[in-house]
Amino acid sequence: MTVLAQNSRTLQRLALMAVVMFGFGFALVPFYYRICEALGVNNLVGRADASVRNTQVDYSRSVSVEFDTNTRDLPWTFRALSNVRSIHPGELVQVDFEVRNQRGEAVTGQAIPSFSPARAAQYFHKLECFCFERQTLKAGERRVMPVVFVLDRSIPSELGTVTLSYTFFDVPAADAAAGGRRS
């Protein structure tokens, strides 16, 4: 091969190298975002996800909450689907309760909560509860009802175990006992 041909071949290769490196400069752009994503650095989207996470939850401790269920003067069976839950203060918790009407006719009842120890009551913030209103069950009906609550972060650390107890009362009987206050 003559020197001239050799030179033009070298020129072509080197020029190709320059063009490839020009492209490489632009390829660094997606590469930068990929590598940041893979290494978890500078990940603006990831950081946004993290900020959605509830910073109000105190993951450093947990409180054991027991659920107790009773009925009074009602032909109902009533139970919590989980008897005890370990809950971080500040965490949003949902607990389901099951109630079944054993009688052949509709019955109306209302649940009344109580707490043990009693001072735990002020740290329970209920967002949803079947106890907020009367429940009427048709003959033989089974119903699963939620309680959604947050345990306040300021709950004292000595309250390691808290019991939440519900008792269902027969509403007509209760009304009668109240002397027809219900109009």
Partner: protein
Amino acid sequence: MASIPGHADAGHGHEHEHHHPTGFMRWVTTTNHKDIGSMYLWFSFAMFLVGGVMALVIRAELFKPGLQFVEPEFFNQMTTLHGLIMVFGAIMPAFVGFANWQIPLMIGASDMAFARMNNWSFWLLPPAGTLLVLSLFMPGGSGGVGWTLYPPLSTQMGIGMDFMIFAVHILGMSSIMGSINIVTTILNMRAPGMTLMKMPLFCWTWLITAYLVIAVMPVLAGAVTMILCDRHFGTSFFNAAGGGDPVLYQHVFWFFGHPEVYIIAIPAFGVVSQIIPAFSRKPLFGYASMVYATSSIAILSFIVWAHHMYTTGMPVAGQLYFMYATMLIAIPTGVKVFNWVATLYRGSLSFEAPMLFSLGFLFLFTLGGFSGLVLSMTAVDVQLHDTYYVVAHFHYVMVAGALFSAFGGVYYWLPKWTGHMYDEGLAKLHFWLSLIFFNVTFFVQHFLGLAGMPRRIPDYAPQFAEFNMISSIGAFGFGLTQLLFLYVVIKCIKGGPKAAAKPWDGAEGLEWTVPSPAPYHTFETPPVVK
């Protein structure tokens, strides 16, 4: 070995010289590597003076605390243009000039591989330099963003910024073409018997440098193109509001920027590796290890870029990696320094101007290397980032490194280029004044940086006043000294004692086998190297 007497008997058997233009058009149309080498060197000296005047504006403003002479905006434009002009306009073209003059002479080639492209790569430079200077006269002035052109500032500046971007594009094209030419010449045009491992080390360092240029200059072109697109075409490469990331620019830029500092330093190593053996009258110690060390530096330069970015919030693992990788570069560099010192050891030394500049290079470049090692440590760099310590560091490697080596190279080859000996007394005076004023200017900047004075700011706290005053005095002394250099060179061109073909008795290489001054055409019949 054959050498063809050129110019004198042109017209007999040199048909390509029949229509040779004269006067100005000779220089515009020339394809001769010696003409083009001379033009490169003159251009780079002109740019050196322009960039030097800008440095003096900076130092004048910093002579005293408070704002004296220039507006802060103009001060910022001065630091920016000083950096761009010195790096791309002065130092790089100077070494391309050496390459053009010396590589064909050293490897026994008649000219560069692509003589017309060579002409083009030079003639791209004056428009680029003009664009850089013209940017000052645009509305809003030039871009006061620092030579690194960091966004978001660089995506906001006025039209002067576009001038700078185009100038960088043109300078990049020029140096890529120049480098393609150099690689091709070295790989394909060596005289018979001149194997790669017999080449003078200057050719080796330029071969490696040219590959670096071809690899990273296009990346810089891409980076500034992205800035241009962000400015005018609505893209968001670096615009955070549009989903971009300004830190990305720093990564792309320094992927170019770190090899760039070796593009400047490695040819300087080559020049010094020619001069030190010549004036020690001994062959270079550890030739092969020099080649391997230089290659290692070039390869390592690609994987250390983020040590310029320790303060951008990198993960600790990244900082550690870049710290250790950077420190690794000290090993091949140490090999080189060791080899130069070992060449001096028990040599028959003489101290002409080229040797003085090489010894100045050796001592001061090593100092600059040490301060670089200090800066490579992440924990220290976080404190020293963007202070005068960094300014002192890179001026030790750029001025005392590259520039001193270039001065040494000019004095070393001036007899070959002009046919006359230069004025040795004045040249030595040039060296000693340069050495003293350089250290007066920059040594004190270490202290300023350690005390926390930030760079690129036109004003400073009063406790920095004394060191800044000393530094400014040194800078003006250094600047004026370079007029002496100009005088010595012109005096040498005009006349002086006749130079022998080999004016230095210890010098080795094919370039000393042709008469002085080197004829217009040399090695048209390749010499045979045994």
